[in-house]
Amino acid sequence: MANFMSRNDLFLFLGFTIVVLAMPIWLAPFGAGYPDLLQRFMIYGIFAVGFNILFGLTGYLSFGHAAFFGVGSYAAVWSFKLLTLDAIPAMIFAVVISGLFALIIGFLSLRRSGIYFSILTLAFAQMSYNLAYSVLTPITNGETGLQLTLSDARVLDAAMGQTLVGQPVPTLLGQQLSGYAGFYLCAGFLILSFFIAQRVSGSPFGMMLKSIKSNQTRMQFTGFNTRPYALSAFVISGMYAGLAGALLAVTDPLAGAERMQWTASGEVVLMTILGGVGTLVGPVIGAWLIKYFENILSALNDQILANFWSFLPEGAADLMVQVTGKFVGDGWFLTLGLVFVLVVVFLPGGVMEGVRRIAATLKRSGTPDSKSRQTQPAE
């Protein structure tokens, strides 16, 4: 194990695993300990971890990653329809298809860098989205979204002699995936995704990706062909997005084109930034925070707010309900936008940088003479 993973990495990984698996327990007091929400935490965590492999390590800002997420969902649902209701083939299929899709789009988009790269990915994603709504309706079922029906072919299931009773739902080795089973499936994949991301980031390959972000010119004059490195990162992150999309289809077998819209691409960017670009756990935390507050804040209504502010005198309470009402419920995106702007302006490193700063302040106040010994550590 010693050569395989350093002590710190191992602790980080074990800590992460425990935190994730124990989520149903420690999140219960926060009103988030139910499988449906926890599944989304896992799924968007995977999405963000994958996105960070591209944006966090290489610095290439893609505004089109929702396309891979959507393709993963469609591929998984098609696997359920055509092959079998089992989740494993669906996920393999989804990861392969979205990886291929990312290979094509990445190959073309990575011919340019900077904002041109961002616009290219955006253009490809918007094309996919618009086509999914229009001419590709036979594959995507347009606005209705792709659903499972009793009359689907499911050749593998049929060959195995399985017949279906009632509504078709995805299974895992014959096991139904409702409730916590679904959560633990997604949690397992998040932990696996995190592990792979950790390995990638701590490998020579990961260092090359960081060097591309740091100085592409030097990288080339050092003898590296930077494009295949960036393309590999692009494809890996596309596969992560496809896996996340597939898991969303496993837990809720309905794939709609809105998953590919550029606002969805923007969301994963927000998650990564909010948590901390380029860090391992930051993007996951960002995804959890956004999904948690989305869940909490969008469920609040004026009634609840009125109760909350009832300790104030009548007029003031009404005013506070009016004001805070703008930031919750449908107004949750306003809160998200404001928080996001504040983070980018004041804390570009996201939550992780905040934690580091607080830790540094605490440490400094602990050791009075530390100012004289300050050096600039790397990373």
Binding site: N3, F4, M5, S6, R199, V200, G202, S203, P204, F205, G206, M207, M208, K210, S211, K213, S214, N215, T217, R218, M219, Q220, F221, T222, G223, F224, N225, T226, P228, Y229, S232, T375, Q376, P377, A378, E379
Partner: protein, 254 residues
């Protein structure tokens, strides 16, 4: 001299930009193991020549041959993989990474080639490369700064680190583009000392330089460029005594 000794041959190169004849009839032979300086006043075509050598600019006619391989049209990473390392006028480094990592990265390029998908190996298990990088940092006197952010180094230290990044690849040819440009006297002197120290390693070097002090203390051979032509070629003493050179260049300086 046997012809096999020539490692870099700039053969009859012309470069025109529209009507401007930036390089005319350049023929330059750099011999194995020598330090060859290219000097000239501003606008003489030094940068253009360097860009032609590294393949960034295509010559209008003629070609650049390195050890039997034509460099024109090759990408920077291919040129590096042939054994040519380059030091830039303003140090090009990985400012966000540690000094140690900066020096390790080129070693990977040397060992693994232009692209390898080695994403499942741990960086911590690369002890051989780390030790090599540490030796190299010791050589340039920077081992104590190994964990610092490269971006926070002084300009002279950045240059020393960049040299270490090149040297760790054991290049057959080292291109130095004004290695002391913009440096304080002190940093210039330490850089010269370092370049003298690595001279004994038998590596071929081409230095583009403006600063006479640097050139005459380092070069085995000097080519003087003026208005896109080579007006003189020879040992430092020969060049110093050449009246054409004094007229074109040294006249003002001495």
């Amino acid at each position: 001299m046997a012809k096999s000794n020539v490692v870099l041959h700039v053969a009859d190169v012309h470069k025109r930009f529209g009507g401007l004849h930036a390089l005319a009839d350049i023929d330059l032979q750099v011999e194995e193991g020598q330090t060859h300086a290219i000097i000239g006043p501003n606008g003489a075509g030094k940068s253009t020549l360097l860009n032609v050598i590294i393949g960034k600019l295509a010559p209008s006619s003629g070609q650049v041959v390195f050890d039997g391989a034509i460099l024109t049209g090759r990408k920077p990473h291919q040129i590096n993989q042939l054994g040519i390392a380059r030091v830039f006028q303003t140090p090009e480094i990985f400012a966000d990474l540690s000094v140690l990592h900066n020096v390790m990265i080129p070693a990977f390029a040397k060992r693994d080639g232009a692209f390898t998908l080695n994403m499942l190996r741990s960086l911590d298990s690369e002890t051989a490369i780390r030790q090599e990088a540490e030796h190299m940092l010791e050589d340039v006197g920077m081992l104590t700064r190994r964990d610092m952010h490269a971006g926070s180094l002084s300009r002279g230290d950045k240059r020393r680190m960049e040299l270490a990044m090149c040297l760790i690849q054991h290049p057959r040819l080292l291109l130095l583009d004004e290695p002391t440009a913009g440096m304080s006297r002190h940093d210039t002197n330490t850089t010269i000392d370092l370049l003298k120290k690595i001279k004994s390693r038998g590596m071929t070097k081409v230095i583009i330089e403006h600063d006479m002090h640097v050139v005459f203390s380092l070069a085995d051979k000097i080519s003087v460029l003026a208005q896109g032509r080579i007006i003189a070629d020879g040992t430092p003493d020969e060049v110093r005594g050449n009246p054409k050179v004094q007229e074109a260049y040294l006249g003002g300086a001495h």
